[in-house]
């Protein structure tokens, strides 16, 4: 409990250091003789980064290329040359499942989960950071502590409560629990403590803004980088979630992509590896693209830097 107060103490501390910036030139000019050495170092760093990127990309490359090859070709080993069985594989796949329905379901669930989790976690983190109510520290610690109970056995209880509420075979037990995401609350709180100062809130209060309005107009935008960062993890986690939808959904037209992929493994498509890879590719490539696109929006120093002034 005591730790919480101490975490907060870091704030003024981090505020204290750089006040000298105004009276010094901003530009950094490296000495000339270091330039060529500098270039070599940069080259080496880039080379290692590229190698690392390749190591991370290889499985995706294999998946995408295999999606265009026939079963026989897939079995006979891996090459970098794409095959020409893409359309056949798609035809095989479509015979068994309606992958686009699954796509739609996954999208509905993941987007809802991401939005709910982002908004309510920010709300909760804000409540925990800027108000001093009774039992605050106890509640925060309790929340952290509850994350430590392994969730595997909770499945039975989760199923029971969903049954009691009558929400089995709906998207609700997959979406609504996102309102309570302790990890995200924890992260946003940590981030907010380091970047958002209470004086801003107090200034707004003097201007007569309501509490919720302050949250929406001042705090939320500043929390955005942290929310965006966590949103990516939330979205991907929800997109790949397999066990929960598998257990909670019964109607095939409500199945999400990972459940459909499981469906495929039990069917004859599994004997056509090319079609199976195509199915996996269809489920993974969109998030790869979404991620590349979103990546630009995670944490840029501009938004965070603005806090300081």
């Amino acid at each position: 409990m005591e730790q919480n107060a101490e975490t907060r103490r870091m704030l003024p501390d981090s505020e204290a250091q750089p006040k000298r910036k105004e009276d010094r030139p901003l530009k950094v000019v490296p000495p000339k003789k270091q330039k060529s050495k500098h270039r070599v170092v940069r080259g080496l760093i880039y080379a290692s980064l590229v190698i690392l990127a390749i190591i991370c990309f290889i499985p995706f490359l294999m998946m995408i290329i295999n999606a265009t090859r026939t079963n026989g070709e897939v079995i006979s080993g891996f090459t970098l040359i794409p095959g020409n069985a893409l359309l056949d594989n798609y035809a095989t796949l479509s015979e068994y499942i309606n992958i686009w329905t699954g796509f739609k379901n996954s999208l509905i669930i993941s987007v809802s989960v991401t939005v709910l989790s982002g908004y309510f976690s920010a709300l909760t983190a804000y409540g925990f950071t800027f108000y001093n109510f009774k039992g605050k520290n106890a509640m925060f610690i309790f929340m952290l502590v509850m994350m430590m109970v392994p969730a595997q056995l909770g499945l039975i209880g989760f199923y029971e409560i969903s049954k009691t509420l009558g929400i089995l075979d709906t998207f609700i037990p997959l979406i609504v629990p996102a309102i309570a995401t302790p990890f995200t609350v924890f992260f946003i709180r940590q981030y907010t403590q380091a970047t958002l100062h209470i004086s801003l809130i107090e200034a707004a209060r003097i201007d007569g803004a309501s509490e919720l309005r302050i949250f929406h107009t001042i705090a939320l935008p500043m929390m955005m980088p942290a929310i965006a960062t966590m949103s990516i993890f939330t979205f991907i986690g929800s997109w790949n979630n397999y066990l929960m939808p598998l257990v909670l959904l019964f109607s095939p037209e409500k199945y999400t992509l990972p459940v459909l992929m499981g469906f495929l493994k039990g069917s004859q498509v599994a004997e056509n590896l090319g079609a199976l890879y195509l199915g996996i590719a269809i489920s993974v490539v969109p998030i790869m693209i979404a991620f590349l696109f979103l990546s630009k929006y995670i944490v840029s120093s501009i938004s965070a830097g603005a806090v300081k002034e």
Partner: protein, 435 residues
């Protein structure tokens, strides 16, 4: 301020409201449109064809849900326990059969109006008996019988053993000594008898296999079961296998192509002679993976008979469509017309005698060079005893396999490995008596 309060109240209540809405909506939709649908759950899409036939004949709509084997029990259990969203008909692999029969998930088929006992004479005895509970009531039926054999490549047999005739090759491998002799002959020509050491597990326990656990709930570790250690070690030490563990990519690869084996610091290329698989191994495993070698295969018996796997099907005890459900089970297990077609199409070895009697004589499989595998397997099925299946089998086999591996790889002595195995059994199943 009032806005804040109301907004938060809405937020807090939304859970309740949403669930309340869904409660009404869900209830009506599931009862309205889905009530006349027969729900079937299984772990493969095997049932697709029979379902099509069933829908055409009876005008009943069927909804098949396929759940991957690994997650099948996880999904079934909560649904069956609570009755919410449960299927009307579901299948069970032999690994789960006893457990689910004991749990009482399946309807008693010995009672009116099913009277399953009436067909007892028409179904292979061990298959029929395995579907019974402790009190002898039938809970599930099966359409297939799954005795095992050894599938081998004819061309290699001709080269190394001088013949490719299943009867003659089977004769050579009819004892453990004979099997190892064959292994040595193959080694001389640069071939490997089996892909891995595990291949020998069925034969190691001899002609009279015992259940893992007896009536008094004691662990039974027969000499036959212990022999598995020695035979596996012998295979490894004499370099008779291709070191390709079951279900690994190289295990599959070995069916169609030479695979590389690294022994004593050098790499050699070798071909695997044979795979120890049951009936379903032919259409579900071999035909799918061996394309170039199709036609070069044959099947014969090993030192002792064995059986492996099998799928049973039954009615969920709280189903609202028991009548239609049993119609489906009858189609699947006792319908002459349908089963005849099914057997011809898939090559699955049936458990229903009236059909097998009719088709077994003129059966032949191109993949096996025209051999009549049907007659062969039906012969093998006669020597199977049903009493050896327990609900512990799958887990105990896994634990035992790990113990044998640690001995084969020289990490533990046989005694220590067995001691460790017993300790693990006791830990996993405190109710089993371990000496």
């Amino acid at each position: 301020m009032r806005k804040l309060v109301s907004l938060l109240t809405i937020g807090a209540l939304s859970v309740g409201v949403l669930s309340a809405c869904s409660d009404g909506g869900e209830g009506s939709s599931s009862e309205g449109s889905k009530d006349d649908v027969l729900k079937i759950w299984s772990f493969t899409d095997e049932l697709k064809e029979p379902i099509k036939t069933f829908e055409e004949r009876n005008g009943v709509k069927v909804e098949l849900t396929i759940v991957p084997t690994a997650d099948y029990a996880t999904k079934l259990k909560p649904a069956l326990e609570s009755g919410v969203g449960a299927p009307d008909v579901f299948t069970g692999e032999i690994a789960f059969l006893k457990q689910w029969i004991d749990a009482g998930y399946w309807e008693n088929l010995s009672e009116e109006p099913y009277n399953a006992e009436e067909v007892s004479g028409d179904i292979v005895p061990y298959v029929f008996d395995l579907g019974k509970d402790k009190d002898g009531n039938v809970r599930a039926l099966s359409w297939q019988t799954t005795p095992g054999g050894i599938y081998y490549k004819r061309s290699i047999a001709k080269e190394a053993l001088g013949t490719d005739d299943p009867a003659e090759v089977g004769e050579m491998m009819s004892s453990m000594d004979g099997l190892f002799e064959v292994g040595e002959k193959l080694k001389d020509k640069g071939y490997k008898l089996f892909p891995d050491e595990g291949s020998i597990r069925w034969f190691a326990q001899g002609d009279d296999p015992q259940a893992w656990v007896n009536e008094d709930n004691e662990l039974v570790l027969t000499e036959g079961k212990e022999n598995y250690f020695d035979y596996a070690k012998e295979l490894r030490e004499n370099n008779l296998t291709a070191l390709a563990p079951e279900w690994s990519p190289s295990w599959f690869e070995g069916m169609d192509k030479p695979i590389k084996v690294k022994e004593g610091g050098k790499e050699t290329e070798t071909e695997v002679f044979s795979y120890v698989l049951p009936t379903w191994g032919l259409h579900a495993v071999l035909k799918e993976n061996a394309k170039d070698t199709a036609g070069d295969w044959a099947v014969t018996s090993g030192p002792s008979p064995y059986f492996w796997g099998g799928t049973w099907v039954g009615i969920y005890k709280d189903s609202k469509h028991k009548e239609e459900a049993y119609e489906f089970i009858k189609l699947m297990t006792q319908d002459e017309e349908f089963l005849t077609e099914w057997a011809k199409e898939t090559g699955d070895v049936l458990a229903y005698n009236p059909v097998t009697e009719k088709i077994k004589t003129d059966f032949s499989d191109e993949f096996l060079g025209g051999q009549n595998n049907y007659e062969f397997f039906l012969g093998e099925a006669e020597s199977i005893k049903p009493g050896i299946v327990t609900k512990y089998d799958q887990q105990l086999d896994t634990l035992y396999g790990a113990a044998v591996t640690s001995y084969v790889e020289g990490k533990k002595s046989k005694e220590d490995a067995i001691k460790e195995f017993k300790k693990q059994v006791k830990n996993a199943y405190p109710d089993i008596v371990v000496d």
